[in-house]
C-alpha cells in the first residue's frame, strides 16, 4: 500500500513531463537530445548556485526575515536565468524551430529540477506506513514548476533569440521574465514570513503559474504575428 502511494506520487510528479513530451510535436521531431542537454546545464547551474550560497550566505541564528539575505538569494536565483540563457543560445541544437526549441529546453530543465529536488524525498518518505499529504503537494508543485519553467523558457527565447519584436511589448516581456525568475523567492517569503500553510502556497503557485503561462502565450503569439 505504501509502495502504491509512492508510485502514485511519482506519477504525479514526473508524469506530466512524459505526457508533455509525447503529446506535443516534440516527440515527432525527436528533440530528446535537446532536453538531455538542457538537463545537464541545469545540473551545472545547480552546482554553481550551491557554491555561491555556501560562500555568500551565513546561517541564520533565528528564523526572522532578513532582507539582505533574501536579496542575496534573489541574486543567486538569477544564476538560474543565466543557465537558461546558456542552454537556449549557446548549445548547438539540431535544426529545430524556435517554437520547439524553448519547449524542449524548458521540459528538460523542469524534469531535471523535479528529479533533483523531489525524487530523493519521495523515495525515502512516501514508502513509509505513515500517510501525509506532503508528497501529493510536492507533486502538484512539480506540475506548477513545469508550467513556470516553460513560460520562462518562452520569454527567454523571445528575449534572446528573436531579433525583431514590437517595441511596446519589450518592457512587458522583461517584466514578466523578472517576475518568473523571482518566483522561488516569493514562495519562500510567503511560506516563512507570512506563514502560509502548504495547501495555500501550492494553490498560489498553481494559480500564478497558469496566469504567467497565459500571459507568456499571448506575448509569444503576439511576437509571432509579424513573421
Amino acid at each position: 500500500m505504501t509502495v502504491f502511494h509512492f508510485l502514485n506520487c511519482a506519477f504525479l510528479t514526473f508524469g506530466p513531463h512524459v505526457v508533455y513530451y509525447s503529446a506535443t510535436p516534440l516527440s515527432e521531431y525527436d528533440t530528446i537530445g535537446t532536453s538531455v542537454k538542457a538537463a545537464a546545464v541545469y545540473l551545472g547551474t545547480a552546482l554553481v548556485k550551491l557554491v555561491c550560497l555556501a560562500t555568500f550566505l551565513k546561517v541564520p541564528e533565528n528564523d526572522s526575515f532578513d532582507p539582505y539575505q533574501e536579496l542575496m538569494k534573489v541574486f543567486i536565483g538569477f544564476i538560474d536565468v543565466a543557465g537558461l540563457y546558456f542552454a537556449l543560445t549557446q548549445l548547438t541544437h539540431r535544426n529545430i524551430s524556435q517554437n520547439h526549441k524553448f519547449q524542449a529546453v524548458g521540459l528538460g530543465w523542469a524534469f531535471a529540477d523535479s528529479v533533483l529536488h523531489r525524487l530523493a524525498p519521495l523515495w525515502i518518505g512516501a514508502r513509509g506506513l505513515e500517510f501525509t499529504w506532503e508528497y501529493i503537494f510536492q507533486g502538484i508543485e512539480a506540475n506548477a514548476n513545469l508550467v513556470m519553467t516553460l513560460s520562462l523558457a518562452a520569454l527567454g527565447s523571445l528575449m534572446w533569440l528573436r531579433k525583431n519584436k514590437p517595441r511596446t511589448l519589450v518592457p512587458i516581456i522583461y517584466a514578466c521574465a523578472l517576475l518568473l525568475a523571482t518566483m522561488p523567492s516569493i514562495t519562500s517569503y510567503l511560506r516563512r514570513s507570512l506563514e502560509w500553510q502548504t495547501p495555500k502556497v501550492v494553490g498560489f503557485e498553481l494559480f500564478s503559474s497558469l496566469v504567467m503561462a497565459f500571459i507568456s502565450w499571448q506575448l509569444f503569439s503576439a511576437c509571432q504575428r509579424p513573421m
Binding site: 506530466p16 505526457v19 506535443t24 510535436p25 545540473l43 546561517v59 530523493a120 500517510f131
Partner: protein, 555 residues
Amino acid sequence: MSPSGEVVASISSAVAVALVLLACVELGDAAAAVGVYRLIQYDLAGAPLGSRAAALNHHAAAFPLPPGADLSRSALVAPLLDLPLSFLREYLVEKKHLGGLLILLPKKLSDKNGTGNDVDKGQVKGVLAELEKLLLHEEVPYPVYFAFHDDDFDNLLADIRKIATSGQPASATTGGYKLVVPSAEPRKVTSPTISNIQGWLPGLKGEGDTEQLPTIAIVANYDTFGAAPALSVGSDSNGSGVVALLEIARLFSRLYSNPKTRGRYNLLFGLTSGGPYNYNGTSKWLRSFDQRVRESIDYAICLNSVGSWSNDLWMHVSKPPENPYIKKIFEDFSDVSKEMGVSVGIKHKKINVSNPRVAWEHEQFSRFRVTALTLSEMSSPPEFLESTGGLHDTRESTDVDSVIRTAKLVSESLARHIYGLKGRNIDVFAENSSLAINPHYIQSWLDLLSRTPRVAPFLQKNDPFIAALKKELSEHTADVHVQNDALDGMFTFYDATKATLNVYQVASVTFDLLFLLVLGSYLIVLFCFLVITTRGVDDLINIFRRPPSRKLKGA
C-alpha cells in the same frame, strides 16, 4: 528554505539519489513512538502462560466498540479504568481472538509526586490487582502491552472514536491508525540464575570459647515478579524488606566495629532471590551451607513487605507459639513494640511437607530445622505469585516511616536479645544518638529500589544492581559472598519485555485507488489538451484510429 537547508538539500539530492536507490532505507517516520512494556510470558511446569506473542501490526480500535466489530485483526487500546474485566474474561474464556491489547496505565503510577485522592488510588490498585491475577494465570495468544497514559494517547483515542462513530470499523479499507511493534519472536531465557548475597558480622569470641558462636540470621528476598517484568519494581514487596535489612546491617556494623560493644552472637545477613517461586533461592542458599554453620543458627528473622503498615505488624511462625524459643522471641518483640506504641501479633501456620507451596520464607528454614519467623504487614499468607511486586506496587505505596519503624523494632529487639538487656529501660538506637535510624539512607535506597525492576530470570549474574547490593553489604559486613544457582526447572521465562510502539496514521486502500483514478484521468486530460492545442483535434482522433489505407494498398 534557509541557505543551509538548500545547500544540504542540493548535496543530498545529488549524491543520495544514486546511493539511496541502492540501499532500500526504511526510516522511522511514525506519528508517535512510545515505550511499551510487554506482559510476562512464561511456562509453569510446561503449561504456557502469559502473552505468547510479541510482534504487533494491526489497526487500532478503542472503546466504545461499534456493534459487530471484528477484533481479531485490530489492536484494542484501552485506558485501565475503561477496560471492563468481564469483557476481557469473556474473551479469554471463550478463546476469542484479539489482534493485540494495549492497556494504558494512569500516569500517577509513575509520577512520584502524584497527589491523586485516596479513592482513586484505591480503585486503581484494586483494578490492577484483579487484572494482574487474570492475565498472569491465563494463556493469552496475542500480544499484551502496558504503556503510560498521556496527552498523545488521549488524542489518539479521540481520533479513533471519531472514525469509529462514522460507522465503519477499523480495517484495511478505511483510514485510521496502525499500531506496530517490531519485535522478534521471543526466545527462552537460557539458564536463568538466582544470586543470593550474604554477609557476616562475626561476634566476640572470648578466651576459652572453643565452640562456634551462635548465629542470628536476618534475611529478605530482593527479587520481584509481576505482570509486566519491566515495570515490576516491587517497592513494598520486597523493597521495604531489603532496605530495612540494609539499615539494620548498618546499625549493627557500627556496634560491632568496637570490640567493647561486640555481641556474643554472629550476625548473618542474607539477601535472597527466587522469592516468588516458592522461595527456591532461600532453599538453595541454605543447602549450600556447611551443616555445622546451619546448626549454629539460633533463629532467623525474615522480612517481607514491611513498607505500609502503621500500627500492626505480624510475626508468622511455623512452630507452635507455645514453643519456648518462639515465646521468648515474641516477648522481645512485644516489649519493644509496646514501647513504640505499635502492636505485634503472632500467627501460626503449620508446614505441610508434601505440599510444594512455600508461602513464607521462614518455612524454608523450618524445613532445615532452623527456628525462623517472618515479620510482615500481611496478616495472611499470599497466594502463589501474588504480592510479589506487581503493577500497583510502586514507590507511592510505600512509606518511609513504616520502614523506619520496622528497622527500629527489629534492631532494638535484637539488641536486647544479644546484650541481655531485658527488663532494663535502655533505648539502644535512640533518636539523636550516633546509632539513630537514618531516614535519608532509607529513603534513598527505597527510591533506588523503586526504580529498578528486579525479576530474577532477567537479572544476570553480573547485573549492576546485584553488584551494588554486594558493595553495600560489604560496607557494613565482612565476608560477603554471592552464591549463584540455577532457577528451578519448573519455570521457563521468555524475553522481549520492553519494546517501542510506533503509531502510524494510514490511508486506506480506497484512497490510494481513488487517487490513482484521479491521477490517471488528469494525465489523460492533459494529454488530450496538449494534442489538441499543438497538433489539432484531427491528430487526436487519428491516434485512436488504425490507419485504414494500408489494407487497401495491400489488396
